[in-house]
């Protein structure tokens, strides 16, 4: 993680602020910092999204290709995550410097998406046992301002929403070899349902309290954090993965508080994200705002 140097007095100040439910930037323990989300930035990718959470900046591109299904699960498509910690975020990420953080994020996302109930892999299947879609979700971290897990999962979900898979119009079978014909029309495409796609919520323990959306300074003050993966189904929040990070220990009561807070916040976050993505999709024609990207 990006290095933030804090003195003991600064840490005490942050700790007292958390105890009084008034953080350094004026938030309560359950508040998120402001976010900017935009989709469709990268035209070379099938789907893309950019998320800016205060000063954390994530860019996600989704690449698609046709692959052979896993023999153990012939009816399922494939999903693969790749995280690139760009040196733009901090010089420590130069070369292979960010590989540890990247691997941690990849494992978090893989655990969250592992259950077929969290992500419907059947929709990516073309011909069982022979052909399926393979999605590469490539995550690019451009700035680290704390709370990477949440930002990464939100951007990945938005990019999946933005993904357009070309429609398969015909299938030709010749001597056991299958050939697919894909539509040339760029508007003739299928979209991926994201209702159950999970979100990660980082719940951070500082002192005797737990809080969400820790900034980089608050992450330094914390001894242990819990990353909760929340998946919505039929309007209800389910847990699809969880793990501790940070090296400290956690009492069972604190863990229960973390899970309850994480599920509640995850549910709220998912509703807001779905609402905003649908709102953006409805703006077509003249109402469609110009893609701004990094020029804002």
């Amino acid at each position: 993680m990006a290095y933030v140097a804090l003195s003991e007095a600064e840490k005490t100040y942050i700790l007292h602020g958390v105890e009084d439910d008034f953080r350094c930037d004026g938030r309560s323990r359950r508040d998120y910092r402001p976010m900017d989300l935009e989709t469709g930035l990268v035209s070379n990718a099938s789907g893309s999204a950019r998320l800016r959470l205060a000063n954390t900046d994530i860019l996600v591109g989704v690449k698609t290709e046709i692959d052979v299904p896993n023999p153990l699960t012939p009816e399922f498509g494939k999903l693969e995550f790749f995280v690139d910690c760009s040196a733009n975020a901090t010089p420590e990420f130069e070369g292979r410097g960010g590989s540890d953080l990247a691997q941690e994020l990849i494992l978090s996302l893989q655990n969250a998406y592992e259950s077929p109930l969290a992500f419907n892999y059947r929709t990516l299947c073309l011909i069982p046992g022979q052909q399926c879609w393979k999605l590469y979700i490539d995550i690019l971290i451009l700035e680290c301002g704390g709370n990477l897990h949440d930002a990464v999962s939100l951007a990945a979900k938005a990019a999946l929403f933005n993904t357009k898979l070309p429609r398969v119009t015909a299938t030709m079978l010749d001597a056991g070899i299958t050939d697919l014909i894909i539509s040339d029309n760029p508007y003739d495409c299928t979209r991926i349902g994201i209702e159950t796609v999970p979100l990660l919520v980082t719940v951070c323990k500082i002192g005797d309290y737990v809080l969400v959306d820790p900034s980089a300074e608050e992450e330094v003050c914390s001894t242990v954090s819990m990353v909760v993966s929340v998946s919505m189904r039929n309007g209800q929040a389910f847990l699809s993965g969880t793990h501790l990070t940070g090296g400290g220990a956690m009492h069972r009561d604190t863990m229960r508080n973390c899970l309850e807070l994480g599920l509640a916040i995850g549910e709220h976050l998912d509703r807001l994200l779905t609402k905003m993505l649908n709102l953006e999709q409805q703006r077509v024609g003249l109402k469609r705002p110009q893609i701004v990207g990094f020029l804002k």
Binding site: S48, S86, E94, G95, G293
Partner: protein
Amino acid sequence: MSGKYDLLSEQGLRLDGRRPHELRRIKCKLGVFEQPDGSAYMEQGNTKVLAAVYGPHQAKGNQTESVINCQYSQATFSTAERKNRPRGDRKSLEFKLYLQQALSAAIKSELYPRSQIDIYVEVLQDDGANYAVALNAATLALIDAGICLNEFIVACTASLSKSNIPLTDISQFEEVSGGPKLTVAALPTAEKIAFLEMSERFHIDHLETVIETAMAGCREIRDILEAAVKEHLLHMGSASDFAKVG
């Protein structure tokens, strides 16, 4: 010439409707990020590049001269076919050395002894002329960081059509269509060339013409970059009320 396509139509227009000497549309933005000392974002057509500058800070090891450290990285989703690795391949190492060569000519290194300046470039979308756009973005990031430069260092690409008409600022399709590609990084005011690279084959009689075409493109890009820097300074200065400075 063995080009597969003619890059110029009979009416004198290119495949994307430009005339031979026209640049693609350039948009740029300084101060994109907060943590780097300097940052810039640049779009030239569909090529999108982010640059970040850290430093000058203490150099690793024991050196008496200033060190310019560059890294060129390309997002795995930036190309039509997915890239397996963002950096570490031969092309990114090659571009890293090219960036170092060009930026060393522009930075006043004697002002920063025993210091290191890190310049990190990330290509978000690839549509040709990656090195030129990366260098232009790095120049803007250095200016945003307050690094002392001799002047703007600007890069531009040029090519030659089947009918031997020079083209400016070629796109990805024009690059892969078999035409020659010449990249020039120049200090336009001093009319010096800091970097020159050429691929494919063409007659030496056309070399001077193509270089001059690229230099003209560099001068035009320099004007665009200078306007962006002035607008950025105006924006930052008015936010803190010019009258109260000093």
